[in-house]
Symmetry: C2
Subunit: 130 residues, 2 copies
DNA sequence: AAATTTCGACTACCCGGGTCGTACTACCTG
DNA sequence: CAGGTAGTACGACCCGGGTAGTCGAAATTT
């Protein structure tokens, strides 16, 4: 039911979801308009993708007059969780700290980000125990 | 040339690479044997995959007698880097700290991992300057 | 030498993400 | 009312990851 596979989204699919998450619902052409700048896709491409995504169960639509109003069925949190989890399990055998370690040693974080990270950790000091 | 697309590996491909990285080279059947436990794949599947991967440029082979000895052409570091980078750019608009933040707030780290992470950060205190 | 195993080559699929072109239909507008 | 417009439906492809069967040649075994 709450299949985690539904949370694995391709690039375009994720971009479409971002639009849907931002606004809380949108028509195909609104999505198309929103993505036109970064990708130059045909309107039908978006429509087709939305249809496939609906079949997959990640979005839903309601008909209003002539047009379909799409609405996300999965939460951004869930998708991120599952995609990150997937990557961690593939690349780091499920060890999330190994990922952080990777970010640090591979200098994916610059000095400034590094500091922010430390601050964040300090802040969340009292979490995890209950 | 050093196409970053070559560093995007599928699940099986990554598993195969892990074997190749561990040993420094291996035949198709050695890889197959190594992966037989976790995945129950036919030997031909591995062979086909290796061929595809060679076409893609991530592995290489040398003939010894009549068997192919495969050797990785891309480094594990590079692949991890590029795959993590890709995910971060898709899911977090390139903000790596947002990923760490995600790990923390979504409780992807348990108490024990959390401590290790803090220790690691303390340890790496003097990095980031070059 | 004959039979059997081994291993690569080739081929064929399936599936899902992605990209559209075309067709059809309801609608609006001159 | 006719013609353009908007918006969905349908179907066609491409591509790459993944899975594997079959075939033929070479090596090994009996």
């Amino acid at each position: 039911m709450n299949d985690t596979r539904q949370h694995q989204l391709g690039d375009l699919q994720f971009a479409i979801m971002r639009v849907l998450w931002e606004r809380r619902e949108a028509t195909a052409s609104e999505v198309h308009a929103a993505l036109l700048a970064e990708r130059g896709l045909a309107p039908t491409t978006i429509a087709t993708m939305l249809k496939k995504m609906e079949a997959k169960g990640v979005v839903d639509h309601r008909t209003e007059g002539r047009r379909f109003i799409y609405r996300p069925l999965v939460q951004e949190r869930e998708v991120r969780r599952s995609m990150v989890r997937d990557l961690v399990s593939r690349l780091f055998q499920g060890d999330a700290t190994a990922l952080v370690n990777h970010l640090v040693t591979e200098k994916e974080l610059d000095r400034e980000e590094w500091l922010r990270l430390k601050a964040m950790l300090q802040e969340g000091e009292d979490q995890g125990n209950e």
